[in-house]
Amino acid sequence: MKYSYFPGCNLKTNSVGFEETAIAVSKKLNAELVEMPEWNCCGTIHTQTTDNLMKRIAPVRNLARAAEHVKNLENSSKEVIHKQVVTLCSMCNSTLKIVNAEVKEDTDKLEPINWQLEYDNLEYKGDMEVKHFLEILRDDIGYETIMESVEKPLKGMRIASYYGCMLLHPEIAKIDDQEAPTVMESIVQALGAEVIDWPFFKFCCGSYHIVGEEDLVNIQVHTLIDAAKKRNANSIIVACPLCRYNLEHEQIELIKNGKMKNSLPIFYFTQLMALALGIKPMKLYHFEEHLVNPKPFLKELGLIGRKKSK
């Protein structure tokens, strides 16, 4: 099975580990993510104004390209490909889903956008579906398959799952129940780690306030990390490059200011999946991108390193 996959800008710049591990995991689980050609910005962050169609052109163009990509994939691989585009970044997920729902519902909006796409010889017919990789893991692959393919259970990890806002909000873009989601927790359990139940799974990290108003983000992250530590978590998983950056960057600031003693490592869920499924080489994980180095933590638990050659 193959899926058309939309990466988004961050996965090509400072979250390469997220993408590369996700693709490796998808290949191992027989649900390969194939990158769509000629994608552009997803149109982040989705505008909530109703009188501005300009900001909806970028996402619709991506959806039209994805529809073409699905056709091409079908022709070349001779198997049935779902009319879906898979995202990894939670911000892309929400933007594409919202706009997709909007233009499907209201053809008056879609028509003028399609006029703009004429320059590219594209037309969006409103026939695509946007899915997050977590949904694919839950609905198409299933937790049991993940559990069966685990080679190295993540023993000793106590993981708090941080969804962030954009995986669950708004109503049309949610991937799971908005007040009690279970996707990430189920995956954590399937990987053999301990699930930490905490109420801050969607407590906003401060998002784009990191530019210019860092103090806002700082307080949010302090609350989040304190809550996770109180519940005895030793790591946090995320699905958003911005959440990862905010959580790591502000932890460093907090330690500098003496408000916190030690930091918690932050992982993308795909990195831990790859680790548990025994995917190598280590350079796929790009741990050097993380501002809080997670390697010592993983070494301590015996999950990476220590070649016993001698």
Binding site: T13, N14, S15, T44, I45, Q48, H169, K202, C204, H209
Partner: protein, 137 residues
């Protein structure tokens, strides 16, 4: 108890209409339960709580709404929107206030100096997001 008279003149009504038009949401649906404010992650930083902002918009008190920092502290996490029992798109109303300000007084646009470290490390979505929410376009 101190009280003040509210003047619902043409300007006030026009303000309400514009906000409703930009946000696509009917503020009159709100019955001031305060669920939005109690769930807001940033409410402690706001001059006016979330339901106060909605309430002032309902009564057309433009000056109070525009001078508050609440819409600028809002990070569009949409927790209020998904929890509203009256299905008011509160985050969209906040965005509408931001847009109203920026469309009428572009000079309020904040210029943020980026350090080299920020340029190197900041995720793209943070930069694009901040530019989209706090600038005119």
């Amino acid at each position: 108890m101190p009280f003040e008279y509210i003047k619902m003149d043409k300007e006030a009504l026009k303000f309400i209409d514009t906000i409703e038009e930009i946000s696509g949401s009917n503020v009159y649906l709100c019955y001031d339960c305060g669920k939005c404010s109690s769930g807001c992650a940033f409410v402690y930083k706001m001059d006016l709580t979330v339901n106060q902002v909605i309430s002032y918009i309902k009564t057309g008190q433009k000056e109070k709404v525009l001078s508050a920092n609440s819409p600028w502290v809002c990070s569009s996490c949409l927790t209020c929107t998904v929890r509203c029992p009256r299905e008011v798109d509160i985050a969209a109303v906040m965005e509408a206030v931001r847009e109203y300000t920026l469309r009428n007084e572009p000079e309020r646009l904040k210029r943020i100096e980026l350090t080299d470290e920020m340029k190197k490390n900041l995720p793209n979505i943070a930069l694009v997001g901040s530019y989209r929410k706090k600038s005119e376009l």
